[in-house]
């Protein structure tokens, strides 16, 4: 009986505080702030304070919520919160410095499914809002989800193959991937997996919806697409999801390619992973955002199905045959 209560408390802490809701929100917003600040510095601007995304989020919470007359009210209001919740669940499956709240034999598959929900929520929410801008945005978001899913699956297969234990073809467990990296060194420095790492670095900004790949939420073209009609708290939830996605995807990159770095102390490993997350954010999102213009929709699709998928496929073949 006492064990059961202890377990409930433990899982409540995992879900609500670390690495669940509270921690991901705070760290995600901080990461988004760093991103905006560094982009500004790269453009020779002073830039907003690091807290800016947090202020934006709080302000949006205090604004009036308008539901358009021709919107499907239920879906319109529920979509942002469903997306946010599924992102927080995703974090629980990703090991942060070897610390994994809920591990299973099929982590990567679960993550693959959970990561599509926020994007689908955006598509449903946008379609439900009844605005033509949101309609265009939803269809573009669908193109971008099709673009990055293929290379993402190939990357996960390549890493899963490299980390497979004796007698298995693949592993889908992130804990096993971490164990393998402790034995064989981080996969980022395995020559066979470098193309997969490059592909993953390009998948991250597309999944998050960052600048060169943000066809679905193009502010300057279609008024942020699916978000065009949103205001107040639901918009705040979408903005928060965007910030958390940055953290989730970079943490996934760290788990896949920068695992196995252990100092012996769990809290130090966690801090180290968070530093890695920040560095990966700066490399694959901030730098690209500051130097590039936006892809057109068909360019995005072509780029991901040829170049990025090609990189991932090369890695998969190398891992399989070398």
């Amino acid at each position: 009986m006492e064990m059961a209560i202890m377990d409930i408390v433990k899982y409540a802490v995992y879900i609500l505080i670390f690495p669940g809701a509270l921690f991901t929100c705070v760290f995600g917003l901080w990461l988004a702030g760093v991103d905006r600040k560094v982009v500004a510095r790269m453009q020779k601007r002073k830039g907003p304070p690091i807290m800016q995304p947090t202020w934006d989020f709080l302000k949006l919470c205090g604004k009036e919520v308008i539901v358009p007359a021709n919107a499907a009210r239920g879906v319109y209001m529920a979509a942002p919160y469903i997306g946010l919740a599924s992102l927080i669940v995703t974090v629980l499956f990703i090991p942060i410095g070897g610390f994994q709240a809920f591990g299973s034999a099929g982590d990567t598959v679960v993550i693959l499914y959970l990561m599509t929900i926020p994007t689908l929520a955006m598509i449903f929410g946008g379609s439900a809002s009844g605005s033509p801008y949101a309609g265009v945005g939803a269809s573009r978001t669908m193109v971008s989800i099709m673009s990055y899913e293929l290379p993402l699956i190939l990357v996960l297969l390549a890493v899963g193959r490299a980390a497979a234990p004796e007698g298995y073809y693949f592993t889908f467990s992130l804990a096993q991937i971490d164990v393998m990296q402790q034995l064989a060194g981080s996969f980022l420095f395995d020559w066979r997996l470098i193309p997969a790492a490059v592909a993953m670095l390009l998948v991250i900004p597309c999944e998050v919806g960052q600048h060169p790949f943000d066809v679905g939420e193009a502010e300057t073209e279609i008024c942020e697409g699916p978000l065009a009609e949103y205001s107040g708290a639901p918009l705040a939830a979408f903005k928060l999801s965007h910030a958390i996605k940055m953290f989730v995807m970079t943490a996934l990159f760290c788990a896949l390619f920068l695992g196995g770095v252990t100092t012996g102390m769990v809290w130090l490993d966690v801090v180290l992973t968070l530093v890695f997350c920040t560095v990966v954010t700066l490399v694959c999102m901030t730098l690209l955002h500051a130097v590039s213009a936006r892809f057109r929709v068909e360019q995005l699709f072509k780029f991901f199905w040829t170049v990025v998928s090609g990189f991932a496929l090369v890695s998969l073949l190398l891992v399989w045959f070398c």
Binding site: R36, A40, Q43, K44, R45, K46, G47, P48, P49, M51, Q52, T54, W55, D56, F57, L58, K59, C61, G62, K63, E64, V65, I66, Y133, E219, T220, I222, C223, E224, L227, A228, E229, Y230, S231, G232, L235
Partner: protein
């Protein structure tokens, strides 16, 4: 506690929506200059929003022509509360040199209450930043006044 945090946040993250109500483009260019690296209004949290639904501050430039009047009012109605209306340049306040023209329906304060007026034809970017900072302060006051 949360109310106070949100009240403070209101002044720190004002998003702009800009409406051109028949302006000559002079003021519009100056508003864009405010967002360039030289003046960088983003350091105060200002951001140009794509749609009125995301906006806190509505910036209107131009003398409000007969053609644009309905659109301006409709756009302002779409902005969620609390909102602040700022006029940019002399035109929306007095119709400037267009006063008395058959095609002008302004000034704007015939239709909606105005919170901040930025004077000039066209105003300097420094004046615009000053006006927008004042608008952000008013935004916070409006938010605090709301129960």
């Amino acid at each position: 506690m949360f109310k106070k945090l949100i009240d403070n946040a209101a002044a720190k993250s004002p998003w702009l929506y800009h409406i051109n109500a028949g302006s000559c483009n002079g003021c519009d260019i100056e508003l864009v200059a405010v967002l360039t690296p030289r003046y960088d209004a983003e350091r105060l949290g200002f951001k140009l929003a794509g749609t009125p639904r995301h906006a806190d501050i509505v910036v209107v430039s131009g003398p409000v022509t007969v053609q644009s009047k309905d659109r301006v009012l409709r756009t302002i109605e779409q902005v969620p509360d609390p909102k602040v209306i700022v006029t940019l340049g002399s035109c929306p306040r007095s119709c400037n040199v267009f006063k008395g023209s058959y095609s002008v329906a302004g000034p704007l304060d015939k239709y909606v209450p105005i919170d901040v007026s930025i004077a000039g034809c066209a105003p300097k970017p420094e004046a615009i930043i000053d006006g927008l900072a004042l608008a952000a302060k008013i935004l916070k006051e409006k938010r605090e006044a709301k129960k």
